[in-house]
C-alpha cells in the first residue's frame, strides 16, 4: 500500500493540480454518496478522509468498499501512477478539460448497471486510451458523456471545462466542444453531408455568438478542412453515411470533428472495421487535428492505433470501472499476454 499512501499525500497536498482541487470541491458537494468505491478507498487512508465521509452512511460505504474487493486498491494505484506522472511530466498549469468522478450509469430500459464508478481526469494536450474487454463499459462511458438517451446516470459527476455535463442537453455538450466519434455512425438517407455539416457548424457558431456561415462561405471553410484531411470533395454531395464503407464512415466522423473544431474528441473504436491503409489515414488525420489545447480520449482494442496516436495514458476498464492506468507499456503487455496477464498483474499487486 506504499503507493497508495503516496498518492494520498498528493491528494492532500493543496494545489497539486486540478485533480486535488476538484476532489475538495466534490467533498463539499451534496453528491458525495455517489462517489465510486475505488476513489473512496483511495481517500479513506488520506488525511482528509473523515471530511470526505461527512454526510454519508459509513456503513453503506464500507459495504461498497468490501464488495469491490482487491481491484479497488489497484484502482488507487492506477490513479497514483497517473498523478505521479502528471507531476513529473506535466507541470500543473495544463488545464483540466474533463473530470469524471465516480460515474455510475444504468441502461435506461433494463436498469442494468454498466458503469460502476468511473474516475478519469483529462487535461489539455493529453491523449488517453481506454482498453478493456467487450462489455466492460467503454462505449457506454463515451455515450453517457455525450448524453445518449439509452443510458441514465445514477451517480457521479462529469465536469467539462468546469461545467457540469449532466446539466446539459446533448447538443449543448457539443456546443461546449465535446465530440464523440461513433463506433458505428448511423446512416441518414436524404440529408447530404454538406447540409449536415453546415447545420452542425452553424449550430456551434451560433452557440458561440459567431455569425452563421452561408452556403458559399461554408463551402470555402469546409473545402479547406477536406484538403487538410486529404478527402475528396465528392464526400459532401453524398448523404450522411449512406452506403459508406467502414473506412468512409470513420473518415466522415473525423471530418465532422474537424469542422466542429471540438476541444475534446472521444473516438470510440475509430480503428474497427478499417483496413491497414485506412487506419493509417484516419489516424494521421486525427494526429493532424491534435493541438496543445485540445485532448483526445480513444477507445480501442488494439495497440496498432496507439502506435499512430501515442497516448499519454492507457487505462484498462473492467466491469464498469477503470482498474488500471499506465502508459504505452500497458498496451504492450495487453497485446502480448491478453487481459488475463494484466489481471494477474493486478491480482499480484
Amino acid at each position: 500500500m506504499a503507493s497508495c499512501s503516496s498518492c494520498c499525500q498528493h491528494v492532500a497536498t493543496p494545489g497539486v493540480g486540478g485533480f486535488a482541487a476538484a476532489s475538495r470541491r466534490e467533498t463539499r458537494a451534496a453528491g458525495v454518496q455517489v462517489v465510486g468505491a475505488g476513489r473512496l478507498q483511495l481517500k479513506k487512508g488520506a488525511v482528509c478522509g473523515e471530511e470526505l465521509f461527512r454526510g454519508q452512511s459509513l456503513q453503506g460505504l464500507q459495504r461498497r468498499v468490501r464488495r469491490s474487493g482487491g481491484s479497488v486498491a489497484v484502482s488507487a494505484n492506477a490513479l497514483a501512477a497517473q498523478l505521479q506522472e502528471e507531476r513529473a511530466e506535466k507541470p500543473s498549469e495544463a488545464r483540466v478539460i474533463l473530470e469524471v468522478q465516480g460515474l455510475r450509469a444504468v441502461v435506461a430500459d433494463t436498469r442494468q448497471e454498466i458503469l460502476n464508478g468511473v474516475d478519469l481526469v483529462i487535461r489539455e494536450g493529453e491523449v488517453h486510451a481506454i482498453m478493456g474487454k467487450n462489455g466492460s463499459g467503454k462505449s457506454t462511458l463515451s455515450k453517457v458523456l455525450v448524453g445518449h438517451p439509452d443510458y441514465e446516470v445514477t451517480g457521479g459527476t462529469a465536469m467539462f471545462k468546469g461545467e457540469n455535463l449532466f446539466d446539459k442537453e446533448p447538443e449543448e455538450r457539443s456546443h461546449c466542444g465535446l465530440f464523440l466519434s461513433f463506433q458505428s455512425p448511423v446512416e441518414i438517407p436524404g440529408v447530404s453531408n454538406m447540409d449536415f455539416l453546415r447545420m452542425a457548424c452553424n449550430a456551434r457558431r451560433k452557440a458561440r455568438s459567431l455569425e452563421e456561415l452561408g452556403p458559399l462561405e461554408f463551402y470555402g471553410f469546409v473545402a479547406e478542412k477536406l484538403g487538410a484531411l486529404n478527402m475528396d470533395p465528392k464526400f459532401l454531395d453524398r448523404n450522411v453515411n449512406e452506403g459508406f464503407s467502414g473506412g468512409e464512415k470513420k473518415r466522415n466522423e473525423i471530418l465532422q470533428l474537424s469542422v466542429l473544431e471540438a476541444d475534446m474528441a472521444i473516438l470510440d473504436e475509430i480503428d474497427s472495421g478499417l483496413d491497414i491503409d485506412a487506419l493509417r489515414d484516419v489516424a494521421t488525420a486525427v494526429v493532424g487535428l491534435k493541438k496543445e489545447n485540445n485532448a483526445i480520449l480513444m477507445i480501442t482494442h488494439y495497440q496498432r492505433l496507439l502506435d499512430y496516436i501515442t497516448p499519454t495514458y492507457v487505462h484498462i476498464m473492467e466491469e464498469g470501472r477503470i482498474v488500471k492506468t499506465g502508459d504505452m507499456s500497458l498496451a504492450s503487455q495487453l497485446e502480448a499476454g491478453g487481459y488475463n496477464a494484466v489481471q494477474n498483474l493486478i491480482a499480484k499487486n
Partner: protein, 549 residues
C-alpha cells in the same frame, strides 16, 4: 345512337351473367369461397398450406380466362343480384356520349381505340362500384364519388391554358407529350428529333400507311394487359371514356436519347370550384398511355399530373407498359394535382426476359389518390424497382396498391414505399403484394414500407404481403409505422443540432430519400420544394432548416 348501343350492350351482358348464375348456382357457390379465400390469405403471411391453396384457386382461374371472367362476374353479382349498378350505367352512358363522332375516325389507331371502348363497355357494365367490403377498397372510400355529379370534361377546343412554363422541367432536355383533359395537344407537345422508327404521339395519328409493321403490332397491346393482371372497374371506365391515347414506341435496340415528359393537365371545365358551396360537379378526364419497348430498347418516361388550381376534377388514367426481352424502362411519376381533385391511376406493366423496370413516384396532390400498380413477369432474370412516396395532409387519402407477380426464375425486385401523414384527417394506404410462384426459383425480392405519422389521429393502413410458393428464394419484407428514428435524432444532437431542427431535417429527408431516386434533377428540385412547403404549411417542419434545395 351511342346511348342505344350502350343500353343494348348492358342488357346483353346482364342477361349473360344472370343466366350463368341461374343455370349453375352450384358453380357460383363454389367459386365465391375460393375467391374470398384468396382475399383472406393475403391478410398476412399465411401458413404454407393456405398460401398453396390460394394459388391453386388462382391457377384454375388462369387456365381458362373465360371461366375466371365468369367467376368474377358472378362473384361481383353475388351481393347485388337485383340488377345492374345504375350509377355505373349512367356514368357509362355519359362517357360513351362524350366521345365525339369525329374522333371515331378510320385510322388504324382510332379503330384500336374504338375497339377498346367496346370491350371496356361490356366489362364496366358487368362491374359494381367498389365498397369497403371489397378487399382492394377495404381502407379506401370511393363511395363518395357516387354522390358527385360526374361529367366527362368537354373537349371542345378552347384556348389552351398556359401552364407549360410552370412545370419545372426544361423543354429542351426532354421530349414532351401533353394531354389536356385526356386529349393530346399537338401544339404543346414537342417530339422533334426522335430516333428512326420510334413514335411518340397520339394513337389517332397512327394509320396503316404511315406505321411500320412493328408499330402496328405494338397497338395490339392496347387494353390487353398480360395474363394475371387484376381487373379494376376504373380501368374499364377509362377504356370506355378514353378519347385519345398517347403511344410511346421504341423499336428494337433503340435507346431514346432524351426522357419523354408526359404531362397530364386537367382543366376541370364543368366541375365546381374547390370549396364552392354545394358544388358537387366533378369533371372527369380519361387519359391513357401505351408504352411499348421492343427487345433491347431503352426508354425513360416522366409522367407529371397537374391541373387547374381550385377546380374539382377527376383524372382516371391508365398507363400500359410492355417491356420486351432485354429492354429497359425507367418511369418517374409525379402527381401534384389540386387538393380537391380525385386521381385514380392504373399502371400495368409486363416484363420480358432480362428486362428492367424502375418506377419512382411521388404522390402529393389530390383529395383521393389511388394508384394500382401491377407488374407481371413474363420471363426470367427481370429486374424491378419501385420507390414510392406519398404525402397525406388535411383531408387527403393517398393509396398505393402494388402487385408484382413473379412466374420465372432469378427475378430481382426491390420495393421501397414511404408515406407521411401530417394531419389527423389524412390517410395513407399501402397494399404491397409480391407473389413468387412455383417456377420463380432463386427470386430475390425485397420490400420495405415505412410510414411516418406526424399528427394525433392520423391514419395509415399498411398491408405488405408476400405469397411465396417457390422454395428456393430470398424474400424480405418490413413495415414500420413510427415516429422518427431515435438513433438518427441523437446523431444530430450529438453534433450540436437541436432536437427541433433535427426533426425538421429528418422529416424532410424521409421524403427526400425517395425523391433523390428521381433521375431528373429539375423534377427532384420541384418535388422537394412542393413537399417542403406542404410540410411547412402543416407545421411539421421548419422551412428555414437548410436541408435540400
Amino acid at each position: 345512337m351511342a346511348m342505344a348501343v350502350a343500353a343494348v350492350g348492358a342488357a346483353v351482358a346482364m342477361a349473360g351473367t344472370l343466366r350463368q348464375s341461374a343455370v349453375a348456382p352450384l358453380r357460383v357457390k363454389a367459386v365465391v369461397p375460393a375467391v374470398r379465400f384468396r382475399g383472406a390469405v393475403k391478410l398476412g403471411v399465411g401458413t404454407r398450406a393456405s398460401v398453396a391453396g390460394a394459388v391453386k384457386a388462382e391457377e384454375s382461374g388462369s387456365g381458362s380466362g373465360s371461366l375466371r371472367d365468369q367467376a368474377e362476374a358472378s362473384f361481383s353479382l353475388s351481393k347485388d343480384v337485383a340488377g345492374p349498378d345504375f350509377f355505373i350505367l349512367d356514368l357509362a352512358e355519359k362517357l360513351e356520349n362524350s366521345v365525339e363522332a369525329e374522333q371515331q375516325g378510320e385510322t388504324l389507331g382510332s379503330r384500336a381505340l374504338a375497339n377498346l371502348r367496346d370491350r371496356s363497355a361490356e366489362k364496366a357494365l358487368n362491374s359494381r362500384w367498389p365498397t369497403s367490403k371489397d378487399e382492394a377498397y377495404r381502407f379506401t372510400d370511393v363511395r363518395f364519388l357516387k354522390n358527385l355529379d360526374i361529367s366527362p370534361t368537354p373537349t371542345h377546343s378552347v384556348a389552351t391554358p398556359d401552364f407549360a412554363s410552370g412545370l419545372g422541367l426544361d423543354e429542351t432536355e426532354t421530349f414532351r407529350l401533353v394531354f389536356v383533359d385526356g386529349v393530346i395537344s399537338e401544339s404543346l407537345s414537342k417530339v422533334d428529333g426522335l430516333a428512326d422508327g420510334a413514335y411518340v404521339g397520339s394513337i389517332c395519328k397512327i394509320s396503316a400507311e404511315n406505321a411500320g409493321s412493328s408499330l402496328s403490332q405494338a397497338l395490339e397491346h392496347l387494353g390487353k394487359p398480360a395474363a394475371g393482371t387484376q381487373d379494376d372497374l376504373f380501368t374499364f371506365l377509362n377504356g370506355l371514356g378514353v378519347q385519345d391515347a398517347g403511344v410511346i414506341f421504341a423499336p428494337e435496340g433503340v435507346h431514346i436519347a432524351k426522357p419523354i415528359h408526359v404531362v397530364y393537365y386537367s382543366t376541370g371545365r364543368g366541375g365546381s370550384k374547390h370549396g364552392e358551396e354545394g358544388g358537387t360537379a366533378i369533371s372527369l378526364a380519361s387519359p391513357r398511355l401505351l408504352v411499348v419497348a421492343e427487345t433491347g430498347a431503352r426508354v425513360e418516361i416522366i409522367e407529371q399530373f397537374v391541373g387547374a388550381p381550385d377546380q374539382t376534377y377527376w383524372t382516371n388514367t391508365v398507363c400500359e407498359i410492355h417491356i420486351a426481352d432485354g429492354a429497359e424502362v425507367s418511369h418517374s411519376c409525379s402527381q401534384e394535382q389540386d387538393r380537391g381533385s380525385v386521381h385514380i391511376k392504373q399502371t400495368q406493366v409486363s416484363q420480358g426476359e432480362k428486362s428492367t423496370y424502375k418506377l419512382v413516384e411521388a404522390e402529393i396532390g389530390g383529395r383521393l389518390s389511388r394508384h394500382n400498380l401491377q407488374v407481371i413477369q413474363l420471363g426470367p432474370e427481370t429486374q424491378t424497382e419501385f420507390s414510392t412516396f406519398s404525402l397525406s395532409s388535411q383531408r387527403q387519402v393517398q393509396d398505393l396498391h402494388s402487385r408484382l407477380v413473379l412466374n420465372h426464375p432469378r427475378g430481382i425486385s426491390r420495393q421501397l414505399h414511404k408515406c407521411i401523414v401530417t394531419h389527423r384527417s389524412g390517410q395513407a394506404v399501402f397494399d404491397g403484394n409480391v407473389k413468387v410462384n412455383r417456377y420463380a426459383q432463386q427470386t430475390d425480392a425485397g420490400q420495405l414500407s415505412r410510414s411516418l405519422l406526424l399528427a394525433q389521429g392520423a391514419t395509415v393502413n399498411v398491408k405488405p404481403n408476400l405469397q411465396i410458393i417457390a422454395d428456393d428464394v430470398k424474400c424480405t419484407h418490413g413495415a414500420a409505422i413510427s415516429d422518427l428514428e431515435e438513433d438518427q435524432l441523437f446523431y444530430f444532437q450529438a453534433r450540436g443540432i437541436d432536437a427541433l431542427t433535427a426533426r425538421s431535417a429528418l422529416v424532410f429527408s424521409f421524403a427526400a430519400d425517395v425523391l433523390q431516386s428521381l433521375g431528373n434533377d429539375s423534377l427532384q428540385k420541384r418535388l422537394e420544394g412542393l413537399v417542403k412547403s406542404s410540410l411547412a404549411s402543416d407545421g411539421v417542419v421548419n422551412p428555414n432548416v437548410p436541408v435540400g434545395l
